[in-house]
């Protein structure tokens, strides 16, 4: 069907009916696996079974499980193309918000990735594509609102933004998208929640919040997070300008 441009025949592309493994293909398989199952289920043996090879075969392409997760994380990072940012005074807020929405959606697509990297002490954001994205985001902050932020504050604002998105996905979206299995799904929508049922007479604010149906909708909570982030950065920008 396709016209292959006579590739270098260094390495067979197939073996025993399946495509030959590579470091990249093994990492991609791990990333796909994380989109379907929880991080704890990603074992060398399970991945090997899915690829139709013995567990030992994976060790020809990755050093160990930690290395496997590192490859998956790199592919994960390289897959994201950020929306364009506009530092103009009347545009930077909305484009930054759109940027954050898109980044949140990307992390949310592979819920286990960040937690897994965290628990394995893997340093993320090393992939060239991600480094370029980070550099562009810092550049954006050095120009926002006309005056822009000084270099150091722009760097901090960039890291702050990324950390907030990751934190939101891990601590808000993930428990919401994959609630613990030991409680009934019906129990989730009860108001007030069972742990607030008794002895909550001295917890008036929590009780009121628990009765508010909107309180736990992640999308609405995320808007508040963006409000605080954007306004907080704007205030910092004003403060630095007045110095």
């Amino acid at each position: 069907m396709t016209t292959d441009p006579a590739p270098a025949r260094r390495r067979p592309t197939h073996r025993k009916g399946r495509a030959t493994l590579t470091r990249a293909s093994v990492g991609q398989a791990a990333l796909d696996f994380l989109g379907r199952h929880g991080p704890a289920e990603l074992t060398m043996r399970a991945l090997a079974t899915e690829l139709g090879v013995s567990p030992r075969a994976l060790y020809n392409y990755v050093e160990d499980r930690r290395d496997l997760i590192t490859v998956a994380a790199e592919i994960f990072q390289s897959e994201w193309r950020p929306p364009t940012l506009d530092p103009a005074p009347d545009r930077w807020r909305e484009t930054l918000r759109a940027y954050c929405h898109d980044l949140r959606a990307h992390y949310r697509r592979h819920p286990g990735m960040t937690t897994l990297a965290l628990s394995e002490n893997i340093t993320m954001a090393r992939h060239p594509v991600m480094l370029r994205n980070v550099d562009a985001l810092i550049g954006f902050f050095t120009e926002i609102g006309g005056t822009g932020l000084p270099p150091r504050e722009a760097y901090l604002a960039c890291m702050e933004t990324i950390r907030q998105i990751v934190g939101f996905v891990e601590f808000q979206d993930r428990p919401h998208d994959r609630p613990p299995e030991d409680l009934d799904p019906a129990e989730l929508r009860q108001t007030p929640p069972p742990w607030l049922r008794e002895g909550a007479d001295d917890l008036p604010h929590l009780r009121r919040a628990a009765e508010d149906q909107h309180s736990e909708l992640p999308d609405e909570v995320f808007e508040f997070t963006l409000d605080v982030l954007v306004d907080g950065i704007a205030a910092t920008a004003v403060k630095r300008r007045d110095l």
Copy 2:
């Protein structure tokens, strides 16, 4: 030495020379263990060895490993006594900052706790003491700066604050306090870092940030985080007042 007030003798306090196990003592031992070792090292077998019993003995007090971690998390929460907050217009910012510093220090003392609870899908903040703390923090936000925040915004501000602290400890402090073992300690202080060495010609902002010695000091980064958080919440308060 101490005068014991004739306790009810329902249960022996010692057995074979060591104190009798209880659900609380096992949980406390797990929490202590997490202060000394990484979360992955906390195994039923390792904890049993440290307590001088067989692994099976632990199952008389906790249902399984997940339950053990839940108990440890509850003890962890009950151990924190928050500093006092003052919502007065000229005081709320500084007292909120002090509050956040204290909470950060508490989480930092048991680095593995949050990550472990996260990876085991354990819902935190169920302990009565912590619920009271959360309620008080919401109450604080309903009164800040004279006008205060509406109930819903106060609740969101409370959750935002806690999430930011936890996110900071997990994503900033933990990698800094316990760097991955596969790179030399010397490599950490190099400027620019090795992953920025080549092909970084189109990464001017990252390069500049990497040369700035202050960029990676967690305490200074934390001040920026608090700047954004406090100013962001203040801006939200003003916005709501003007509506």
